[in-house]
Symmetry: C2
Subunit: 151 residues, 2 copies
DNA sequence: TGTTGTTAGTTACTTTTGTAACTAACAAGA
DNA sequence: TCTTGTTAGTTACAAAAGTAACTAACAACA
C-alpha cells in the first residue's frame, strides 16, 4: 500500500541524529576538543585567548573593541583574554594617544612566536581534515557552515 | 610567472573563515541560540535538560547511565538535568528493584507534553533549515557533520 | 564651562560547566 | 562473611561564561 500524504514528513521517527543543531554541536565540540590541545597544553591558553592572539597576529595591532567586533566575541570575554595574554607576556598595551579610553594591543615576541606556531598547527589541522573528508567535501562543508552562521 | 611549489598551501593567507573548527563553532552557536528559545523561554530549560527530556520521550524509560551513554553527556550533567526536570515535575524516578543504585526515569504527563511540543518544534526547525539550504545541501551537511563527530 | 549622551574597557555578581572525590550498592572470589 | 574492585549517581569545589552595572574619557552643543 502506498504511503499517504502526511502533514509533516516522518512524523513518527525523529532522532537527534537528524537534528542539525545537535549534529553541529557534537561536531563542533569534537573538533574543538582535538584542536584545543594545541593551545591548552603548551601555552595554557583558553579558546578566547587563542582567538584574540590569532586576530592580533593576523591583523596587526588592534584595540579590544576592534577584536570584539571582527571576531564576534563579547567585550568582557575579550577583556579577560587580553588580561590573560598580558600576564603570559604575550602582548602589551599602550593607551591610545588620540583616545585615552582605548588601548593599542600588540603582540610581543613570545606572543608572535606562539601565533606562528599555532597558526601553523591550525593549517596542518585543516589540511588533515581536508585529507579525511576529501578536498571537495571539505570545501562544501565550509561553504555550508558559512551560510548558517548568520542565522 | 607560474606559482612555485610550496611546502604548505597558501602559507601566506590563513583566515579564521577557512578554519573549519571555527566555522563549526560559529554555526553551532548561531543555530543553538535560535532553537534554544523554544525550551528556554517557555519551560526555563537548559540545553542538557532538553536533551535528557528528548531521550526519555524518544526511547521511553531509561536510567541516567543509559542516557549518559546514548547521548554522550557526562554523568554529572545528566544528574543535574534530571534533578532540574524532577523539580519541574517533568519526570519521576523509581529506584530500580534489581539494582538499587540505579533509577528508572519516566516522563510524567507534563513532561510528555513538553516533549511532544519541543519535538514538533525541532521538526519544524529542521524543515525550515532544509528550506533554506535546499534538501540536497541539508542532507549533505548532516552527513558531513556525522563524519566529523567521531573525531 | 556645564550638561547630556555615548563609548572603551573593567569589575562584580550570578549561572553554568568541569573535575574529583565521595556514598551506597553490587559482584566475585577467598 | 570478609575482602577487593567496580559501578550509579551525587556533591563539593574550582574554572569559565553571561549579564549588568560601573568608571573614565570623549563629543557635541547650549
Amino acid at each position: 500500500m502506498k504511503k499517504l500524504a502526511q502533514t509533516r514528513e516522518s512524523d513518527d521517527i525523529f532522532e537527534l541524529s537528524s537534528f542539525t543543531p545537535y549534529l553541529l554541536n557534537q561536531a563542533a565540540e569534537a573538533q574543538s576538543d582535538v584542536f584545543s590541545r594545541n593551545y591548552r597544553e603548551r601555552y595554557g591558553m583558553l579558546r578566547t585567548e587563542w582567538r584574540v592572539l590569532f586576530h592580533l597576529g593576523r591583523h596587526g595591532d588592534m584595540s579590544a573593541k576592534e577584536i570584539s567586533e571582527s571576531a564576534s566575541i563579547h567585550k568582557t570575554k575579550v577583556s579577560r583574554a587580553v588580561r590573560a595574554l598580558e600576564e603570559k607576556r604575550f602582548l602589551s598595551r599602550i593607551t591610545s594617544p588620540d583616545d585615552r579610553r582605548s588601548e593599542r594591543l600588540s603582540l610581543r615576541p613570545p606572543g608572535q612566536e606562539a601565533f606562528r606556531h599555532l597558526s601553523r598547527a591550525a593549517q596542518d589541522y585543516e589540511a588533515a581534515l581536508e585529507q579525511r573528508l576529501g578536498k571537495r567535501d571539505a570545501r562544501k562543508l565550509r561553504e555550508l557552515l558559512k551560510r548558517l552562521d548568520g542565522t
